[in-house]
Symmetry: C7
Subunit: 97 residues, 7 copies
Amino acid sequence: MKLKPLGDRLIVRAIEEEEKTASGLVLPDTAKEKPQKGEVIAVGDGRYDEDGEKRIPLDVSQGDTVLYSKYGGTEIKVDGEDLLVLRESDVLAKVEN
Amino acid sequence: MKLKPLGDRLIVRAIEEEEKTASGLVLPDTAKEKPQKGEVIAVGDGRYDEDGEKRIPLDVSQGDTVLYSKYGGTEIKVDGEDLLVLRESDVLAKVEN
Amino acid sequence: MKLKPLGDRLIVRAIEEEEKTASGLVLPDTAKEKPQKGEVIAVGDGRYDEDGEKRIPLDVSQGDTVLYSKYGGTEIKVDGEDLLVLRESDVLAKVEN
Amino acid sequence: MKLKPLGDRLIVRAIEEEEKTASGLVLPDTAKEKPQKGEVIAVGDGRYDEDGEKRIPLDVSQGDTVLYSKYGGTEIKVDGEDLLVLRESDVLAKVEN
Amino acid sequence: MKLKPLGDRLIVRAIEEEEKTASGLVLPDTAKEKPQKGEVIAVGDGRYDEDGEKRIPLDVSQGDTVLYSKYGGTEIKVDGEDLLVLRESDVLAKVEN
Amino acid sequence: MKLKPLGDRLIVRAIEEEEKTASGLVLPDTAKEKPQKGEVIAVGDGRYDEDGEKRIPLDVSQGDTVLYSKYGGTEIKVDGEDLLVLRESDVLAKVEN
Amino acid sequence: MKLKPLGDRLIVRAIEEEEKTASGLVLPDTAKEKPQKGEVIAVGDGRYDEDGEKRIPLDVSQGDTVLYSKYGGTEIKVDGEDLLVLRESDVLAKVEN
């Protein structure tokens, strides 16, 4: 199922990072914080400006890695996979290589 | 009864997906989450821009399949059928084929 | 008493629909939900745009049948009849014939 | 004391209507609802538009009879008389003759 | 100490009116309501419009007598005298002679 | 350490006034109200207007004495001295000499 | 990992100042207030104006030292280091040398 986010929304697939304690122990999933880094897998065309004349382009593109606020967005399940629909304002920063 | 939503509203008929547990058991209706995928059956003409000069067109059209926020919208019953009136801002994404 | 709503308001006379249970029993009035379908009996001239230069016309007209949010509006009693003053934003959809 | 309301405000003198019960009994004052019909006795010149260039004229004039929201406005006592200062947005409708 | 209010603010000196009960008894100060009539002793130059291009002039001038909302404003003590700093939106009406 | 406030902010050094009771007794510091008069020691360049084209200049300048709302602003400690960062909207009035 | 903040956001590395009590005792970390002074290590390109035509430039640049509100921003951990993502409106003042 291919999704096209509306307006200033984007869809993100969380990137879970291995988390080791100081002693090298890998923590099981439930002891970890909800991830806040993800890969952008789809972006909207931008919301309309106040005069309804043109769309304001998004600053993130498909394929970008982004940091996002842990408490923003709506969780959806697509083809058995957990994804997150965010508004661009929930994105804190892009990761540059 | 044919309905024409006002402004930036649309009317959606929920699509209930069969939901099986890992063991293949089909869950009865009350054990399932409220659906959040639906078919757009009517759309408004868009709300006026701030100057009242033209309408801002909607990004969804009749016949589209959309994902929407589970907590948005107003439930209505039309000809015995449960439908949902949403604002376009409650729509998260369109499903593309 | 003839009323002219102000700005983006309209006045609605609720349409009560006969409601029968599965067994064909007609429910007495107190057991029914508050109606959310009504006939528009008067409309305002629209609110001014942000520059105060022209009014934004309403999408509903006198004589329209509308669905409206059950929790919006202000109840008034006019010549012994219960009516409802709504803002146009409380109207969900028009019923088309 | 003559009052000139500011901006989009108006001053209203409530019109109390005789209220009889079905049996014809006139209810004493404390058993009646707070009135919501009134005569406009003064209006402001309108608030400025967003650019501060001109005022947005009011839709009600001195002498109009209006219905207004029971919970809006500020009560004032002028020369021993109870009056109400409303914003135009608290006015639901004008009564036309 | 001479004060110049900022933006859309004004400074008001409350006018206390003698209040007699029906029996002619003058009530001591603590039994009276907080005054809501005052003399304007200083006005600001108005707030800037949204484009920052010009100020929106105030509708009240120094020397005006105004009615104001009892719950608005900030009390200040200037040279031992209790004054009130209001925004113009807290002023309900001007008293005309 | 020299500070430059951002946007429509200013930095104020509170002016504590000697406060004597009627009997001439000078009250110790803890019995006094938080001061609300101060000297402006730095001002921002003003916030941008809505179109991002120019800044809206502040109405207060370095060296001004201002009255400000007791509950606004953020306390900072600079070189051991307690200062207050205010937005211009927290300033009630300028003191003129 | 290099980060590019979005819109009007910036990333700040807190500057912890040694804090001695009057007796010269250095307080351990937990007894100190959360720092509110930091170095700007990355800035966004500014948010779009209301017409979506151009970005409003930020007043802070990479390398600036800023004072910021203790309660604003979102904490992130980057390469093991605690950083803070702020909106420019959370920045109170720049430190000038």
